[in-house]
């Protein structure tokens, strides 16, 4: 059924209090759909809503307002950044906040733990039959990987688009999975969706981390023919990826695949024949979108095919190396990328805990000092990724190998690299910062961090 008016669409849907609504985050901080839909639903007086956005960005002010007005019961998401995090800390929810990983969210939807009544799907392009793609239109975002399970498993599926064409050649969403189509003036602001060109860091400290990382990867023996690799799109990760790709080139090697968020760097490696396939759950720049349109070895994949732990065909099952970040890490190598030291939510797992668990070599990179505090704590404020899945921490002042990786410790026994214990690395940080007073954990629990398998990893706290 097709609509050109949101109110008419909402009239047609069976709306009720306590309903569960999902949204995806491929339009990132340029998304207009979540605010548009949620505002209209709240305006109709519905309450105690359960939200399942795959991620929440600063632009999602409607959630912030609804939290403050007590109209949201539960939120289940993978990442929160901006005012919504502050509203959650201040006010909390009637129900609970659950932070999942990308793979964990896909698993929970498939296994009916995340039961979604209506999936509102921002679709950059829709054809006359009702098929959808992220590759065209003014709000093109590339892969629609994070919404595929919502499309398959929500009780009701609604496409929302601002761009229609007569026919899409390779739609990512089939009209047969869709119940309703709404056409609106705009689904997003392109400037908030995509970066023009992401650049590797030029910061000397982060470059030092990148050089140490490259030296470590090289010495680990993991860079071989058919190596597979994933990293983020931050400046340090991009610098490490650049060096990794140069190593492939210099040593005449071809990687089997790169996965995760895809950037121009990955595309250039594909086009230079340095990697066989790109498995793309999210495009990070315009070059990646263009590549997804034209390169046959560049595949859009769903979150389940990317990281669902119960999907035996998930790509990261075969991942050799992953480069990840941290806002805190502790003596047991537990990593926090969800909160700051004051328990305010500043992010979330995304694919962090998924890839850390599956990859053969999980490398965490970060400056040793963050905002005048040591990165390394006795215990982290919140566990996003358990330490048992982290193999090594690389900072500008040294490298700490997790003692559970005795094989690596042995391999690097006589290494010229600055290998030390995580406690020794922390002592270096304390030379500058002093030993901070321990923070007091707030009493009010507002939610949980969940492992990709669905177990509770840690609690999230309010004021």
């Amino acid at each position: 059924m097709r609509f050109k008016n949101l109110d008419a669409l909402l009239d047609a849907l069976s709306l009720h209090d306590q309903m569960s609504l999902s949204f995806h985050h491929h339009l990132r901080n340029g998304d207009a759909v979540l605010n548009l839909v949620l505002e209209a639903i709240l305006h109709r007086g519905y309450k105690d809503l359960n939200l399942y956005p795959s991620a929440i960005f600063p632009i999602h002010h409607t959630i912030e307002t609804a939290i403050k007005e007590g109209k949201i019961h539960n939120i289940t998401t993978n990442y929160i950044n901006g005012p919504v995090a502050l509203a959650l800390k201040e006010k909390g929810l009637k129900g609970t906040l659950k932070m999942q990983s990308h793979g964990g969210r896909a698993r929970a939807i498939i296994e009916d733990e995340n039961t979604i009544d209506i999936a509102f799907i921002a679709a950059p392009a829709v054809d006359e039959k009702g098929n959808a793609s992220g590759l065209e239109g003014p709000s093109a975002c590339g892969s629609l990987g994070y919404v595929i399970e919502d499309v398959k498993h929500a009780k009701t599926k609604v496409l929302i688009t601002d761009y229609t064409v007569s026919k899409l050649d390779n739609p990512q969403i089939s009209s047969s999975d869709i119940d309703y189509l709404l056409t609106v003036d705009s689904i997003g602001d392109a400037s908030g969706i995509m970066s023009g060109t992401l650049k590797p860091t030029n910061d000397p400290l982060n470059l030092k981390i990148a050089r140490l990382s490259q030296a470590f990867l090289q010495a680990s023996g993991m860079i071989q023919e058919n190596v597979s690799y994933q990293s983020g799109a931050g400046g340090t990760s991009l610098a490490i990826t650049k060096m990794f790709i140069e190593t492939l080139k210099n040593q005449g090697l071809t990687a089997s695949f790169f996965t995760g968020g895809i950037t121009a760097q990955h595309v250039q490696a594909l086009e230079a024949g340095l990697v066989k396939d790109l498995y793309d759950v999210q495009c990070f720049d315009l070059t990646a979108i263009e590549s997804l349109r034209k390169n046959k070895a560049h595949h859009a994949i769903s979150a389940s095919d990317y990281a669902n732990p119960n999907n035996t065909k998930r790509k990261i099952k075969d991942l050799d190396i992953v480069i990840l970040g941290a806002s805190e890490i502790d003596y047991a190598f537990n990593v926090n990328v969800t909160t700051d030291s004051y328990h305010t939510i500043i992010g979330g797992s995304g694919g962090h805990s998924d890839t850390a668990e599956d990859a053969k070599l999980t490398v965490v990179v970060s400056p040793l000092l963050k905002a005048r505090l040591s990165l390394i704590k006795k215990s982290v404020s919140a566990i996003t990724t358990p330490g048992e899945h982290i193999d090594v921490l690389i900072t500008e002042r040294g490298i700490a190998i997790n003692p559970k990786r005795q094989d690596l410790l042995k391999r690097f026994e006589n290494s010229p690299l600055p290998i030390m214990t995580i406690e020794a690395l922390q002592a270096l940080a304390y030379q500058f910062t002093g030993i901070p007073k321990p923070t007091v954990k707030p009493k009010k629990i507002i939610g949980t961090i969940e492992s990709r398998h669905g177990q509770k990893l840690d609690s999230l706290y309010g004021k």
Partner: protein
């Protein structure tokens, strides 16, 4: 003897804090040109307090002091009194400047090495005497100031700048002191590599750097290459086997200067941890 000498401004806490992370062989904390006149006190205070609390181990540290005004130079010397530093960089070095510095009171800096920054035309007419001065440890070419004083185009392709480079290196080598080349002002890697190539061609031992990101390239390119180390090792092994200062190797005549050069190269490689069994610098 070092490859890279990195200038960092004395009033930037983050750079002071991370001076040992940048991998420079020598750090030069700048109290002179990088610091505006109204920020001199702050830079002096921050530098000295930082070094008293956090001086990195095993890292040679030089301080470039002010030289234009007696009051500034004296204030610098007062501040660095008793500080654990390796030496000072003396701007606009001439015999007169050396005399002015060494006689300035109060100071107990008599044990500090002096690196003479050669950046005025006058200095080139007494370069041999400056180099032989007992307090001088090395000569540094200050290309920007020299260019200003002489109207020479500092562009790397300009042959006119070759003469000061050669003169400085000859004077330093004649006095068995270090010769350190002027920095490349461009932050472009290609320009830096071209500059380092010239540094090597003219026989300098090290090069000044004005940004931490210049250090890895300088260290890599001013260290002996694997091929050069291999060749030098073969020459020394053949020399030791034959017990002679004159022999042929692969159809090439080897004599004393070549053997000495090979030994110097191996010594240098050892210094930078590049020989088997050395701790490799990253």
């Amino acid at each position: 003897m070092a490859r890279s000498y990195l200038f960092i401004p004395g009033n930037v806490p983050r750079m002071l804090q991370n001076m040992d992370v940048y991998d420079a062989d020598v750090i030069i904390i700048d109290l002179e040109d990088a610091i505006a006149i109204e920020e001199k006190d702050e830079a002096r205070f921050l530098t000295c307090e930082f070094l008293r609390a956090h001086r990195p181990e095993n890292l040679p540290i030089l301080i470039r002091i002010n030289s234009d005004e007696d009051s500034l130079m004296r204030a610098d010397l007062m501040a660095i009194k008793g500080l654990d530093i390796t030496g000072i960089v003396l701007p606009k070095t001439s015999l007169a400047q050396l005399e002015r510095f060494t006689s300035m009171k109060p100071t107990n800096t008599t044990d500090l090495e002096i690196y003479g920054l050669i950046e005025t035309p006058e200095a080139f007419f007494e370069l041999d005497k400056i180099a032989k001065h007992p307090r001088i440890k090395g000569l540094m070419l200050g290309g920007e100031d020299l260019s200003t004083h002489t109207n020479i185009d500092k562009s790397l392709d300009e042959i006119a700048f070759h003469m000061p480079k050669s003169l400085l290196n000859f004077a330093a080598k004649a006095a068995q002191k270090e010769a350190i080349d002027t920095p490349v002002s461009s932050l472009d890697d290609a320009a830096l590599i071209q500059g380092i190539k010239q540094t090597k061609t003219f026989g300098f031992d090290g090069k000044l750097a004005i940004h931490p990101n210049q250090v890895p390239l300088i260290n890599t390119h001013l260290a002996p290459s694997k091929t050069a180390i291999h060749e030098a090792r073969r020459i020394i092994i053949a020399h030791e086997k034959k017990g002679s200062m004159r022999f042929s190797l692969d159809g090439k005549m080897i004599d004393k200067p070549i053997i000495q050069r090979a030994q110097k190269l191996l010594d240098k490689a050892h210094r930078y941890g590049l020989l088997a069994g050395d701790a490799h610098a990253l």
